[in-house]
Symmetry: C2
Subunit: 131 residues, 2 copies
DNA sequence: ATTACTGCAAAGCGTTTGCATGTTC
DNA sequence: GAACATGCAAACGCTTTGCAGTAAT
C-alpha cells in the first residue's frame, strides 16, 4: 500500500503550483531550499510514482525529462534556443482518419511536438538582425 | 573540409540498406563483424555529422536515439511492447491551421509520434487473450 | 511491528570528448 | 605535412538502484 510522505506532498504541490514543465533537477533545487535534507533520488522516485498513477505526465524531452501536471493529452512546443517547453493552445493529438485503417497494429496514443523559437527568443533574434 | 573515410561510407551504406531505424549501438554491432577495429565513438561521430549535413535524421526516441535514412518529414510509430519504430504510411507533420496564428513564437518543424502495439505484438497479445 | 519511504552513494545507460595515432588530401 | 578522422578510454548528464536507516500505518 502507498503511504503518506511529506516529500511526495511537497513535490505534488510544487509541480501543480508551477504552470510549466520543470525537470526533476529544477524541482529538486526549488524544494531543497525549504527542505534541505531532500534527495534527488526521492524526487525521481516520487515523480515516477505520480506518473505511473496517472497524476502527472512525463514529457520525454530532448535532454532531460520534464514533468507536467496536466495529464490530458496536449501538444508541446520546444524552443531550440532556450530549451523551454510550452503547452500549445489546444490539443490536436488526434489520430488522422485513415491512419488507423492503414496501419496494421493498434494506435493507443499520440503526441505532436513542435519545434522552433519561443516568443522571447524570436524577439531577441529579431533585435540582433536589426543591428 | 570533410574527407573520405571508409568508416563513414560503411555507416552510410549500412543505414541506407536497412529500411528501419537502428540505434547507434545496433549499427555498430552489425558493422563490427566486417570491421573489427571499428569504434562506437566513430559511429556516433559520423552519425552526428550525417545528421548535421541533413543526410540522416535523428529520431530522439524513448531510450536510445535512432537514426533514419529517410529525411523527409514523416511520422513514427513506437511499439510499447517490442520497442520497434515504424514509419507511418504517410507524412502528416503538418502544422494545424490556426496554430501558428495563435502561437507567439515561430514554429519551424513538427513531429507526430504514435504509440501502441505493432502488428506482431498485437497478434501475440491476441493469442494470449484467447487462451 | 510491519513495510513503505528516505537519503546517500554507487552504478547504470546512452552519448560525448580528450588525446595520441593513423589517413586522406 | 596539414588537417581531418580514428580508436580508446575516460568523462559526461540523466536516471535508477542497493542498502541501511527513518517514518507512517
Amino acid at each position: 500500500m502507498t503511504r503518506y510522505s511529506r516529500q511526495r506532498e511537497a513535490i505534488r504541490k510544487q509541480l501543480s503550483n508551477r504552470g510549466d514543465h520543470p525537470t526533476a533537477e529544477t524541482l529538486y533545487a526549488e524544494l531543497k531550499t525549504n527542505f534541505p535534507e531532500l534527495s534527488l533520488a526521492t524526487v525521481y522516485r516520487n515523480l515516477g510514482q505520480l506518473v505511473s498513477w496517472g497524476e502527472v505526465a512525463r514529457i520525454d524531452a530532448y535532454g532531460a525529462a520534464r514533468f507536467d501536471w496536466r495529464v490530458e493529452p496536449h501538444s508541446h512546443f520546444f524552443c531550440r534556443e532556450c530549451g523551454c517547453v510550452i503547452d500549445l493552445p489546444e490539443a490536436d493529438d488526434i489520430v488522422p482518419h485513415n491512419l488507423e485503417e492503414r496501419f496494421d497494429g493498434v494506435i493507443e496514443s499520440s503526441a505532436s511536438n513542435y519545434f522552433g523559437l519561443c516568443k522571447e527568443c524570436k524577439e531577441k533574434s529579431d533585435k540582433i538582425a536589426k543591428n
